[in-house]
Symmetry: C2
Subunit: 191 residues, 2 copies
DNA sequence: GTCTATAACTCGATAGAC
DNA sequence: GTCTATCGAGTTATAGAC
């Protein structure tokens, strides 16, 4: 008889990931202690290490989850409206301004951990190719190759994150429509 | 009577800055030793510390120099051609792909050094405002505020750096014309 | 906790420009 | 003669091994 409910297990895992992401975003990776994550998540350290072997593993899991989320959103998107919905999904985390700091932490840690860097590259390429496939089915300017278009959508999203973290007067929520306008004028100049 | 030649002095300073920037770009800040910088620059450690009080000061000076360069280019630019020339200047460092790693180092160090972070913010805002002033004198879409347009040009340049460091198949030199096309379609949709 | 290796930084001396 | 640029061995702090 198995007493473990796989649904509960992954829900709890997800809860720890989300809580830890919030901590890392605010305080950075090194400065966040495992004890803080446990307190914030309302669990014991023993319980946490039942789900993750190390603090690094939690950090890594955040971005594995991110890759899975992107894949899910991509698979349920279609047409030009789908492209815009993927953009919405990519920028949604910025509703909490601190996540711009989380990305900074990611890049910093990736510089010190090649396997984390490999995960980042893998996620980026998967997103690029998924977006490119989606764009192929849209009525976009035929002079722009879909992979180029996809890369630049990623680049614009990167720019939104970068501006948010570097310019205190830059309000990402207010700038999302501008981002979509730029994408639209680039890829569908006549519409 | 002054025996110091200010031209020679600043030329040597500049030489050290450029050499160190190359080292930092390749190996990162912590992993490059001042001995390596000295060897690369063809000077002794004693000489290096005659020009800079610390290794951190050299790193900081790279971005102070960058801010000065940007200000110089901005002041000699005018009209739409000036906007494009500023973009050329901003992306020029990517001719050496390793500099994408230098900005990663900058972000990582800024996270640990508030005074460096302050310098970064100051440079970003100065560039934004300089670009906005330049754009005000251009014939751009009046529905886009110049400060918004300037921020997004910075965002696109950030995106180019970010894609270059994250996607090995992304060739920045080849993508610069695309960047300009995006900016043009965004700000001058009719031309 | 102690030890060692490494790397940032110091200092006194020297050479040469004015 | 004075003042500056240069040198490089020496000092000290620290990070990692055991």
């Amino acid at each position: 008889m198995r007493t473990v409910d796989p649904v509960r297990h992954s829900a709890k895992r997800r809860h720890i990931i989300d809580t830890a992401a919030g901590c890392f975003a605010v305080k950075g990776f090194e400065r966040t202690t495992v004890a803080e994550i446990c307190t914030a998540a309302g669990i014991s350290t023993g319980s946490l290490f039942h789900y993750f072997p190390s603090k690094k593993a939690i950090f890594r899991a955040i971005f594995e989850q991110d890759g899975l989320d992107n894949a899910r959103v991509l698979s349920s998107a279609s047409g030009w409206a789908g492209v815009l919905s993927v953009i919405d999904h990519l920028v949604a985390p910025l509703a909490d301004r601190a996540v711009a700091g989380l990305v900074v932490e990611l890049v910093a840690q990736a510089g010190r951990d090649p396997s984390l860097a490999a995960l980042v590259v893998q996620n980026e390429l998967a997103l690029r190719d998924g977006l490119a496939t989606l764009l192929s089915s849209c009525d976009i300017d035929p002079s722009v190759p879909p992979v180029t278009a996809a890369s630049w959508i990623q680049g614009l999203v990167d720019g939104l994150y970068s501006r948010t973290s570097l310019d205190p007067s830059f309000d990402p929520a207010e700038q999302v429509p501008v981002l979509k306008q730029i994408v639209t004028r680039f890829l569908r100049p006549t519409s």
